[in-house]
Symmetry: D2
Subunit: 102 residues, 4 copies
Amino acid sequence: MTDHDHCSTTPDHLCMPTDARKRARHRLSIARGHLESIVKMLDDKDVYCVDVLRQIRAVQGALSGASDVVLRGHLEAHVATAAERGDAAEMVDELMEALKYR
Amino acid sequence: MTDHDHCSTTPDHLCMPTDARKRARHRLSIARGHLESIVKMLDDKDVYCVDVLRQIRAVQGALSGASDVVLRGHLEAHVATAAERGDAAEMVDELMEALKYR
Amino acid sequence: MTDHDHCSTTPDHLCMPTDARKRARHRLSIARGHLESIVKMLDDKDVYCVDVLRQIRAVQGALSGASDVVLRGHLEAHVATAAERGDAAEMVDELMEALKYR
Amino acid sequence: MTDHDHCSTTPDHLCMPTDARKRARHRLSIARGHLESIVKMLDDKDVYCVDVLRQIRAVQGALSGASDVVLRGHLEAHVATAAERGDAAEMVDELMEALKYR
């Protein structure tokens, strides 16, 4: 798989697909900038609670979006192929644990 | 209220309580650092999807915590006093809108 | 308040506004019917997982809607008037606890 | 697979694993009883908003638990085997859609 060209995927370790990695990085990078701007907002004594709640909500939405990019890449590259590799039980346990409280 | 000493709260504008503002700023500042470290994780071709999902989840938890600090301050300083000020209907509409999809 | 005409609201107990109570009851009643139909779906050996996931999601959305009706009534009738009654601290603690993991 | 003995799984249709189906049915059946009791609670004019919010929250938790049972069964029986069947892209699209707003 060209996705994994430069990645040291081994029987013990699966690498994130390059495309998902780059897109998630880009989204998280934007969310970080947004979060930075909320921290600055909070230096202002006049800031209003509900404006802060809305901005935090927006960043949470952006993180969910980034999380979906990673999840989709994981399902395609690693979960859908688990029966072929023979590690379906472990992959599903691990994913269910990571999705908890989602 | 000493909380509002330096804040230009007017009949048209309510300021965030100082204590909630400082605590929320502190928490968001830590979350931003955590998010920064996830962006760096994603530069590594060997990063594993589920590790990234877990880290994003942790930041989402931190944002929820910061959001709760802001919400509590808002309920105490502005919503609980709304009937006294005479703007209960507006305050509740605004808050319900901000809590949507929470 | 006419809302509370027949309710034994006392200094120790606050009653739910009648309108919110009736609307929440109506919505939950519909959600219960929907949930009943999902239980029946699951008697069918041919049922497909994703169809069940979608139906459960729909009921969860209906419960969130009912919860919002109750929350709005509570904010209007009990939280916005808390400073007047002198129990703001308790009301906010109680609400924050109930909103946890929302 | 013995799980599918009596299920008409065909190339066009995948059936829910029997065990997941029975366990999900059991959980949803309990949640329906709980929801029924909340509807009855709301016939009482003296009911308190926060008690209703807590009960709705409990049912939502039960629905999430049932949803996790279905999701785990789906991942094991249908997603982990998708590459073998050759429908990974469709399976992942469908699942991402169903998990939206989760």
